[in-house]
């Protein structure tokens, strides 16, 4: 019986009391028309039973009151436990976030370290890199020259003019002309464009721009009688060049 909870015990006691009271009333009602002495003992025992049940109920009520106090304590404990639970959950969440952030940072740092190591392993001198950069960009193929504007006949690829002025072009055309190759670097001097002979063999591709620059300067400058005849010929070639350059379907140009 002790393992039963208090509520069940109380219910049972109340039911018992009800039954005993009913028995008593029945006895009383039966006894009323007849004499009362016969079942007096039964009535007394029933009444004693009732009293006993009542006292039991009272003791169990006392127990229930104590349990109510304990229940209050339990509720407050539960509240505290819940508070701690939520705090622990918050801490766990923060820890997880910190771990994620740290993992990302460490991964990125590792990658950077690898890149640094790689750079250190394959280090090259800056002079070499600058030299190569200079070579690559010397022909103005990477970016246009400083004062280049629309209408400038200069191109990053060898133009028709350049090709004709080169070795191969010189072999086929103008066999009777013997001109001196322009070696000067100044663009203001009025030098005649050269037809390539044997002297041009030593000139590398890096100087291919020089003649065209000279030609551009001679073309744009005014009042030179020496170069009129040459200019006429080169004007036509220039027109060709300009036509070709404006024409998008030139075969020698790079894809743009």
């Amino acid at each position: 019986m002790a393992s039963l909870n208090t509520q069940t015990r109380l219910f049972m006691l109340i039911d018992d009391m009800e039954m005993v009271a009913k028995e008593l009333f029945e006895l009383q009602l039966m006894n009323v028309p007849k004499s009362q002495q016969k079942d007096g003992a039964d009535s007394v025992s029933l009444m004693e039973l009732l009293i006993q049940k009542d006292s039991e109920i009272k003791s169990v009520i006392k127990l229930a009151e104590e349990q109510a106090q304990i229940q209050k304590l339990m509720d407050s404990l539960k509240l505290e436990v819940d508070k701690r639970d939520s705090e622990i959950k918050n801490l766990q969440r923060s820890l997880k976030e910190a771990e994620t952030i740290l993992a990302t940072a460490i991964y990125q740092a590792k990658q950077k370290m690898q890149a640094v190591k790689q750079a250190n392993d394959h280090s090259t001198s800056s002079e070499e890199i600058i030299k190569f950069a200079h070579r690559i960009s010397a022909s103005n193929a990477v970016a246009a020259p400083v004062m280049w504007g629309p209408g400038d006949p200069r191109r990053p690829y060898p133009t028709d003019l350049d090709m004709r002025q080169g070795f191969l072009g010189g072999m086929c055309t103008y066999p009777d002309n013997s001109r001196h190759p322009p070696q000067t670097q100044t663009s203001t001097e009025q030098h005649l464009p050269t037809m390539p002979g044997g002297a041009m063999q030593g000139i590398g591709s890096s100087l291919s721009w020089q003649p065209s620059q000279e030609v551009a300067m001679t073309l744009t400058s005014t009042g030179s009688h020496h170069s009129i005849h040459d200019l006429k010929g080169h004007n036509k070639e220039n027109e060709d060049v300009e036509l070709m350059s404006s024409d998008s379907s030139s075969s020698s140009s790079s894809d743009e």
Partner: protein, 99 residues
């Protein structure tokens, strides 16, 4: 029994029983109407007593069970307090052990 709690009042069923018995034993011929009335009152009182018992807090367990649960909760609370204390104290990480 210095102060009577509401539960005690509700579950004080003997006086009602006594009233019924008295009404039955009154005079030689009992007034059945009164008897019925008292019986109904007794029934109502029993019903109220049952409702009161239902509402009593903490009675869904026996005393031993309840004490056991309180002990468990207390242990939980202590454990969690210690855990939180440990977390809050050990805020810094060991930098030597990281790779």
């Amino acid at each position: 029994m210095a102060s009577s709690s509401p539960a005690e009042n509700e579950l004080n069923l003997l006086p009602a029983v006594y009233e019924v018995v008295r009404s039955i034993e009154k005079d030689s011929s009992p007034d059945l109407n009164q008897v019925n009335q008292k019986l109904n009152e007794l029934k109502a009182k029993f019903q109220k007593a049952r409702e009161c018992v239902e509402k009593l807090p903490g009675t869904q367990y026996s005393k031993e069970e309840q004490l056991r649960r309180v002990r468990i909760l207390h242990n939980q609370m202590e454990l969690k307090t210690q855990l939180l204390q440990k977390f809050k104290e050990k805020g810094s990480f060991d930098t030597d052990s990281t790779e």
